[in-house]
């Protein structure tokens, strides 16, 4: 019995002593951290996607708290609303950015762009593009092996087996830009998100001369420049046999879509157009 009591006393005494030691150490080496960092981190979406340029949301919240000017910081997942909330909490000026969405600029489906060989190496776009031009005659377009879909944390990208091309789910896409970085062909681009999912863009990145591009793919941009001529807002530039629509200038008038001879310029989310009024309009421009 005596043994038991001694043991209990010794152990309890030891525990009290060590607790005191821990308490003193914790007091002495305490790291002062701005409590706002935790609060801001809670306000962020917590996706840790890296879309802001930091490794995760913690890094972003530290930067938000520490930097005086946070105009260069933006969380694409949380969007303007989240940024505004954080800014008012911190009493700083938030960055205002238009919501963006990932856009796949390639129309080279199996039908439009016939496969001329078969790749059976490691099923990854990075590997394939390091080895050769790809399964089709087009050396610029989508390889269809799904590096973008694999890297998407939000499940917004998937390869459509019918076309062999990735498709973006606008609801889920947060414009974090992971797919843009993952694509070795630089096919994916972040563009301004318009209401009702409306989009107009050149769905091609082929810089070959028109004849070569067209031979490889039915819907390739041949760099003819008709779209640039018809555009009333000077939003379209043609460089290296390839047209590009600047989304900051584009007013979505859809004149270029009708003008494109190959169908490389595509539109989404618009109501069907009236054929009768269309003709004279395009003819009159310029």
């Amino acid at each position: 019995m005596g043994n038991l009591v001694t043991t209990i006393l010794v152990v309890s005494g030891l525990a009290a002593l060590l607790a005191l030691l821990l308490f003193l150490v914790a007091k002495k080496f305490k790291v002062e951290e701005d409590p706002r960092i935790d609060d801001v981190e809670r306000m962020l979406p917590g996706a840790n996607c890296g879309g802001c340029g930091f490794a995760g949301c913690r890094g972003m919240s530290e930067a938000l708290v520490k930097q005086d000017d946070i105009a260069s910081l933006y969380c694409p997942v949380g969007g303007a609303e989240c940024m505004k909330k954080i800014a008012s909490y911190l009493g700083k000026e938030a960055a205002e950015r238009e919501p963006m969405v990932a856009v796949v600029r390639c129309g080279g489906s199996c039908e439009n762009r016939p496969r001329v060989n078969r790749f059976d190496g490691a099923q990854s776009c990075v590997v394939a593009s390091s080895l050769y031009a790809g399964e089709t005659g087009c050396s610029f377009g989508c390889l269809g092996l799904g590096d973008c879909a694999a890297v998407c944390d939000f499940g917004a990208l998937s390869i459509n087996p019918a076309t062999g091309l990735p498709e973006v789910d606008e609801e889920k896409c947060t414009a974090c830009g992971a797919c843009v970085k993952a694509c070795p062909k630089r096919v994916i681009e972040l563009r301004k998100k318009a209401p009702k999912g409306r989009k107009i863009y050149v769905s091609c990145v082929n810089k070959d001369k028109g004849a070569v591009a067209r031979k490889a793919c039915k819907v390739a941009c041949i760099g003819c420049g008709k779209c640039a001529k018809v555009c009333p807002f000077e939003a379209i530039t043609v460089e290296n046999n390839l047209a590009y629509i600047d989304f900051t200038k584009c007013k979505m008038c859809r004149k270029c879509v009708a003008e494109c001879p190959t169908g490389a310029i595509v539109e989404f989310g618009f109501p069907p157009r009236k054929v009768a009024t269309e003709e004279p309009q395009t003819a009159k421009t310029e």
């Binding site: 790809g134 005659g137 050396s139």
Partner: protein
């Protein structure tokens, strides 16, 4: 018998298909496409324009820097285009297209068959001549030869090693050169030795070519500085670092060059091209290409003008029937060809036609940690780890695992029982790590 100390594999050599076929002059095609980037380094710069008349041996593109090489016309005729054209991998590369008319050679080229044995050019002049004649390493890596022969200050070459290993299965181009042009080959080696100021020449040959060993040993009686070194057959013995280790027992340090251990390695085809360039004034306008395959009607070793479409060679030797994959080079390090109309270049040592059933990859499984790839790696790396780290984008860790030392020989992929595409991934990781190292060095 000598060989390199670690790793390596032993694939069947399949050389019997084309071994017996003597080198045959391939007819000059109607049109040649000569790419401007046929070597490692800066692409050459075209100095002809559409409509120009050219003759064989005329310079059509000048070197684009020190690590670069000029390009000569391989045919006589009219330039019909200078512009981008799809290469063997389908990528657009600047190319000069020439429509052939007759076969008129530049006057300075000595086309006689007589063997010129001596020249009184100084080492410096030899290197300059090799550079002018557009000679590049013809084993497949196509590194400009004059760069290899320019020994950096403070370094000293002690021996020249002629790479007569031809460890790639199927290929027999170097073997045929040894058997038919042995004398010229040794003269070429002698010129190379003079250029770098060494007294000793080793010729490393694998023992699956006993007749070549015997023949060159007989010839070498008249060349006292030449020593023929028979080597035990093992892939990748033709790798520069492996060959040096096998012949001299020295190990090239990590990140170093052969010259760090006093060795300069040159391929058989390069030695022959050097002989022709220096003694005969003949630029690199043609090369020996092995066209072979298990099911091919008549495998051949052809002397082909640079720029000839590969499809012409294939048709000449039996056609594409039953072929599932065309490989430029050997089966281990060669690259699959997606555009068979692409031209033969300075580095095309072979055109290999694999039947459909042999050309497909097996379904990949999971890594079972058997370490066969570790045993096979001739550089002593751990390919399975490099594979995982590359897929995780952990480039700092990759560098710590010596990925920059990978020679891309493919032993790991060959030995993997789960058919993992190890080299495919390792190559990606290596490219990224090399890029980072270069950026870091540029900052310093």
């Amino acid at each position: 018998m000598k060989t390199f100390p670690i790793g390596g594999i032993h694939p069947s050599d399949f050389k019997e298909y084309s071994k017996g076929a003597a080198i045959e002059q391939f007819p000059i095609p109607a049109v040649v496409n000569i790419p401007l980037a046929q070597h490692i380094g800066a692409p050459a710069v075209a100095c002809v324009a559409k409509g120009d008349r050219v003759v064989v041996g005329q310079v059509i593109a000048t070197a684009g820097g020190f690590v670069s090489s000029p390009i000569h016309s391989s045919v006589s005729g009219t330039v019909t285009a200078v512009g981008p054209m799809a290469d063997a991998q389908g990528n657009m590369k600047p190319t000069v297209t020439i429509a052939v008319e007759g076969d008129e050679w530049d006057e300075s080229v000595d086309r006689s068959q007589t063997i010129v044995k001596s020249s009184n050019l100084s080492p410096k002049d030899i290197v300059a001549k090799i550079s002018q004649m557009g000679i590049v390493g013809m084993g497949g890596a196509t590194f400009p030869t004059h760069v290899k022969l320019s020994i950096p200050d403070g370094k000293k070459a002690e021996c020249l090693i002629i790479n007569a290993v031809e460890c790639e299965p199927y290929l027999t181009a170097d073997y045929r050169v040894m058997m038919e042009q042995g004398e010229r080959l040794l003269l070429g080696a002698r010129i190379l030795a003079k250029a770098i100021g060494v007294e000793k020449i080793y010729v490393g040959i694998e023992n699956n070519k006993p007749d070549a060993i015997a023949y060159l040993e007989k010839l070498a009686c008249a060349y006292l500085e030449v020593e023929i070194v028979p080597l035990k057959m093992r892939y990748p013995q033709g790798g520069e670092k492996q060959l040096i280790a096998a012949v001299t027992g020295r190990q090239v340090p990590s990140g170093g060059l052969p010259i760090d251990v006093g060795a300069v390695v040159q391929n058989v085809g390069t030695a022959l091209a050097v002989y022709e360039a220096v003694m005969k004034n003949k630029p690199l306008v043609e090369r020996v290409v092995t066209v072979t395959g298990p099911k091919l009607a008549s495998p051949k070793n052809l002397l082909v003008r640079i720029g000839t479409p590969m499809s012409a060679l294939i048709d000449y030797c039996g056609g594409m029937e039953g072929v599932g994959k065309v490989i430029a080079g050997g089966p281990m390090m060669g690259r699959a060809v997606s555009n068979i109309d692409a031209p033969v270049t300075k580095g095309t040592s072979g055109v290999l036609l694999m039947p459909t059933e042999e050309s497909l990859r097996e379904k990949e499984g999971e890594c079972i940690r058997c370490a066969k790839c570790v045993d096979a790696c001739p550089m002593g790396l751990e390919p399975y780890i490099l594979n995982i780290l590359t897929q995780k984008h952990d480039y700092d860790e990759l560098e710590r695992h010596w990925i920059a030392d990978c020679i891309e020989c493919g032993c790991c992929t060959f030995s993997c029982p789960s058919y993992l595409p190890l080299l495919d991934w390792v190559r990606i990781g290596k490219a990224e790590v090399m890029k980072r190292i270069r950026e870091r060095n540029a900052k310093k």
